[in-house]
């Protein structure tokens, strides 16, 4: 990955009707990166994406694309293209006319644009669909057309606004893989917006976690999962136990906890706490055990159904147990618990 800046967002703030939706956002996205803005609805991620596209203007701050300040430039002259959540395919045009739209308004000759549109359709595996109307396509096919319509223009940055949100789970997983493959193949920067953490983890080089108009953390999926910078990140990504121990707020991943019977001796170098089992949920590959510590804190423990867990695997509600973890798996959270 080259370290040239594709998108630079500096000091951007925005409010709508007195409500601040973005506070002083600073973000650098590199050329060729698959970058995801992840956050709950209302976190400001879509507004930020729309600002890069040119549909919204920031109240303060600048947005640059490859070093070019585009803050005041309108959408139709920016070298970016968007895949919309509702696909926004033109209903009165067939598939190939939709795909070649950007080339058509740019004045590309008919044979040229037909050829390039066909290539883009081939890339999303829709060769035979050129003459169909959007209304005759399934949701997944429309999504592919929207993608082809955007990438045919060879934008310097592709913006994707929850493009898989309307698809069912299986199709969504297929498309995740495919989007990643296409992004690698064409090598352009993807700026992706989603509220689905699994989707973000599966595809992204880096993720920005957004909450209430601020960026809580930027990092690789692994960094964000294993070293969450705030209680919000810890609870938003995966499930996390947030405990207060010796006056410090710490986060513990459920799969890093081990249950032991009270009589057994804990593994070398682990911290243990006595607890009572509150509930056991059998999920197949794993079991989820809810326990309560002596100080009243509730924890979730996920035990792998790998046959190695021993007798602690068959605990039941009301049993007394020990919860054990390695000290390095409990990490301090930067800010106070919200």
């Amino acid at each position: 990955m080259a370290n040239d800046s594709a998108i630079a967002i500096r000091g951007v703030a925005k409010s709508f009707a007195g409500t601040t939706v973005l506070h002083d956002i600073n973000l650098e996205i590199f050329d060729g990166e698959f970058f995801t803005m992840l956050g709950p609805s209302g976190s400001g991620k879509t507004t930020l994406l729309r600002m890069v596209a040119g549909f919204e203007t920031p109240d303060r701050g600048t947005i640059s694309l490859h070093g070019d300040d585009v803050t005041q430039r309108s959408a139709h002259v920016r070298p970016v293209n968007t895949v919309f959540q509702d696909y926004a395919l033109f209903p009165h045009m067939d598939v190939v006319t939709n795909v070649e739209y950007g080339l058509r308004v740019a004045g590309v000759k008919k044979e040229d644009r037909r050829r390039r549109a066909s290539e883009a359709l081939a890339m999303v595996q829709l060769e035979g669909f050129a003459k169909r109307r959007p209304a005759q396509l399934s949701g997944g096919q429309r999504q592919r057309v929207a993608l082809a319509r955007a990438i045919v223009n060879e934008p310097s940055v592709l913006l994707l606004d929850e493009p898989l949100g309307a698809l069912d789970l299986k199709l969504r997983q297929e498309m995740q893989t495919e989007l990643k493959v296409i992004q690698r193949r064409i090598g352009i920067t993807f700026l992706y917006v989603t509220h689905d953490q699994e989707e973000a983890m599966a595809m992204s080089d880096r993720i920005a976690i957004m909450n209430a108009g601020v960026i809580e953390q930027v990092g690789s999926p692994k960094e964000i999962y294993e070293l969450p910078a705030s209680p919000f990140v810890a609870s938003f990504i995966g499930t996390s136990n947030v405990i207060v121990r010796n006056g410090r707020t710490q986060s513990l991943r459920p799969e890093r906890l081990r249950l032991l019977l009270p009589a057994s001796s804990p593994p070398e170098g682990t911290i243990t706490e006595p607890a009572t089992v509150a509930d056991v949920v059998y999920l197949g590959p794993v079991i989820r055990v809810y326990v309560r510590l002596a100080n009243g804190d509730d924890l979730v423990v996920v035990q792998s159904n790998d046959g190695l867990a021993g007798p602690s695997f068959s605990v039941a509600a009301g049993d007394a147990v020990l919860v054990a973890w390695r000290p390095q798996d409990a990490f301090d959270l930067e800010s106070e618990l919200v």
Partner: protein, 276 residues
């Protein structure tokens, strides 16, 4: 919803009665147009096409017909221009008094024709404008605008705003977006609105009475001829032709506005009725 056989039969009878009530008078007129006698008695004794030739060769009918077409075409064209512009304005802009303007635009359709007619007549008199074909056109435009405005506005509201964003995102200027996306999107709404406006203008009597000069439009001629009672068979023929002529644009208009959602609705209904 499922009905018992009895209630379904009753419903059909009711529908048939309503349709009969609506269309029997028109059918009567059509039939008497073929009656040789100029005194209308039932049953018809001698059938003839004579009155068709009379109507065809009547210079008064011809000039009235020409005037009606002229007024309808002109007021429809004017309404397309003004009505769609108003719809775009109200749809896109957010300004103080927007809803009031929307209401004022729709008002002429709800207002009794006699009020529009009298008001226009006084206004023209006061301004010293001689009543002519142009005053008829202005009068008709007041209510034709509404049809276009409503149709276009409804379509704009149903159209996803991301279509326009997508067009801009793909590099289209606002002129290109209008030509390639907006216009095709509202085209059927515009055409169906225009056909309805044409039909409204073509058979209008009351406003025309107050805004017409010496010339007669076709409905005014019909009205006058019925009052005089000398040319009833010829009137029947003219009315028959007008009905046929009006039926076509209204049918096309209904098809165009319904084309988006009519088919699925039919399919859905069928599914319900065939359910066990």
């Amino acid at each position: 919803m499922r009905h018992s056989r009895l209630s379904r039969t009753a419903l059909w009878l009711w529908v048939a009665a309503v349709l009969f009530f609506l269309f029997a008078p028109i059918l009567t007129i059509v039939l008497f147009g073929f009656d040789k006698s100029n005194v209308e008695t039932w049953p018809i004794q001698h059938w003839t096409l004579h009155w068709y030739s009379v109507a065809w060769n009547d210079p008064q009918v011809r000039s009235a017909f020409a005037l009606s077409i002229k007024a309808a075409v002109a007021s429809t064209s004017l309404s397309i221009l003004l009505g769609s512009m108003a719809a775009f304005g109200v749809h896109k802009a957010r300004f103080f008094g927007r809803d009031s303007i929307s209401l004022l635009l729709i008002l002429p359709l709800a207002l009794p024709g006699i009020i529009t007619g009298v008001a226009l007549n006084s206004a023209f008199q006061w301004a010293g404008i001689t009543l002519s074909v142009w005053t008829i056109i202005v009068g008709h435009t007041t209510f034709c605008i509404v049809v276009i405005y409503n149709n276009v506005l409804a379509r704009l509201r149903r159209t996803s705003s991301t279509l326009l964003e997508a067009s801009a995102d793909l590099g289209a200027s606002s002129v290109q977006t209008f030509r390639l996306v907006t216009l095709p999107t509202i085209a059927t709404a515009l055409v169906s609105g225009a056909l309805l406006a044409f039909a409204l203008s073509f058979d209008e009597v009351i406003v025309t009475t107050f805004t017409a000069g010496a010339q007669n439009t076709l409905p005014i001629w019909i009205f006058g001829a019925i009052r005089l009672g000398q040319q009833l068979p010829e009137v029947n023929v003219v009315v028959t032709m007008v009905v046929l002529l009006m039926f076509i644009p209204i049918l096309i208009a209904a098809r165009l506005t319904g084309s988006d959602n009519f088919a699925p609705r039919v399919a859905a209904t069928r599914k319900v009725t065939t359910a066990p």
